[in-house]
Symmetry: C2
Subunit: 289 residues, 2 copies
């Protein structure tokens, strides 16, 4: 079985990315807007910060109170929209429940929307227009497959999960690359029958170790986008790695499938990488114009 | 074989729709913006006008020259955006090649976008947020299925075609209704193998009589969204019906499948109906507020 090792891939690509960032006249800056103080969000932001700084990018972390008004959050984002020292802006999700997520995400300037979550960028992804941002997870999944030379065009891809952050954009990104894409979800009948037909299986449902051997088949390439905390404990800071598992039961499927991405160390590092690749695309564009 | 007869369905629903429109204090108005003078566009606009007027709606037809500037087209749309006597606006497609279709479509006020083609409405469809417009063809397909009590949730839907106007929005609308959706296209390998697995097969590829008996299976519900002019002639006005065929070879599949929509007389009338249902939704909303 071939391990789709996101850490290795990222390390290899990061070097080139760092060199490319150095070519610009000034350091690139990513702004991360966080509302509240959730432990997993803190951990994700820390990872983005560490990786960004390792390749020479300035990562600005703007932390707002959990009870901030929507108008105040949008106001802060608008300041970043016009701040010429900031090339990319992301809003760390999830948001507090009383905040309208669409309003906040759509307030990000589409040209700085390196998470690809504004309506304009989502539609561009669906249209297949190049030069716009693809959501980081979707881009990360595609690049992981491409690095290991997994053919995509004409292949049968089955995506399990239909979320706006992962399932749908990943399905659209792979459709754009020529795959025949099936989107499955909680209402799908005989799910295992459908998933077994895939050449490439992408799982993003947030159910720990849900996909066992009966869902997969030989010669399949399987990508695990899930990341679940199974500790049942509360952590103030980072969740220890031993508590994190994917949506796929790694040990159950590893002797059947042809290739498999682990959790942690698969899609996670690729998502962080893709975010900074999107940032690089902004910098390159503004350099040109 | 059950005929999915769009004309019959529309006739039945139109009566109620007409009565509902009458309840408003003033007549509803739809504006159709056409750029140029293509014969098929003229024919489609005529159909919308005839149907709209038959249910008591005012249909304003604004015809601009084929060589209009993009800024002039957008200017006209912006006037309609703020015209309180107009509740819905559609731009008849296709546009002349030198015009940026995204810019023109996105200039329509999202609350009057009864074709559901602005980026905001497309994202809302993908999100599954209700209260926004679903593109008329996608809504028409769903209502045709629902009228004939074809179950959708949990069923396997295969959509042939991935266009922004039909394939993708129809796939998203059926996904939202709980179907397991596969999107196929010109790069799909062994297409017939994939289409035969569908419970519901939706075809929108613009290839006359492409889908023959080998692509279908028993118990399948098959919906033909294609409309192709096979005359090879030039018409100034409407294309005679005998020259119009669907993407499905009706005679080839009719003895195999369980249900089938004809062309003309299947999805076409439902698309026109859905447009005015979207218009009705605007009127109802504005009445409430």
């Amino acid at each position: 079985m071939l391990l789709l090792d996101g850490k290795v891939v990222r390390k290899n690509i990061a070097k080139t990315l760092e060199e490319n960032f150095k070519k610009f006249s000034r350091r690139a800056t990513l702004a991360i807007v966080q509302i509240g103080d959730l432990a997993p969000s803190n951990a994700y932001i820390k990872q983005k910060k560490l990786f960004g700084e390792s390749i020479g990018v300035v990562v600005k972390h703007l932390k707002l109170l959990a009870d901030s008004l929507e108008s105040d959050i949008v106001g802060e984002i608008q300041k970043l929209n016009t701040d010429e020292s900031v090339q990319g802006i992301i809003v760390q999700l999830p948001l507090p429940k009383n905040i309208n997520i669409s309003n906040v995400l759509n307030s990000v300037n589409k040209d700085k929307d390196v998470d690809g979550l504004t309506a304009t960028n989502f539609r561009k992804l669906a249209e297949g227009v190049s030069g716009y941002f693809i959501p980081a997870t979707a881009r990360g999944v595609c690049e992981l497959l491409e690095y290991y030379k997994v053919p995509i065009a004409g292949e049968r891809v089955v995506v399990v999960g239909r979320s706006m952050l992962v399932g749908k954009p990943t399905a659209l990104a792979l459709l754009l690359r020529g795959a025949t894409v099936t989107i499955t979800h909680s209402q799908t009948k005989n799910l295992a029958e459908v998933t077994r037909l895939a050449d490439i299986l992408i799982v993003a449902i947030g159910k720990p170790r849900f996909i066992t051997d009966e869902y997969v088949s030989q010669n399949q390439v399987v990508v695990d986008v899930g990341i679940n905390d199974i500790s049942g404990e509360k952590f103030d800071e980072e969740i220890p790695k031993r508590h994190l598992v994917g949506d796929i039961d790694f040990d159950s499927v590893k002797n059947t499938v042809r290739a498999l991405s682990p959790v942690p160390g698969g899609v996670g590092p690729m998502t962080v990488l893709a975010l900074f690749e999107n940032l690089f695309d902004v910098c390159r564009k503004s350099q040109k114009s």
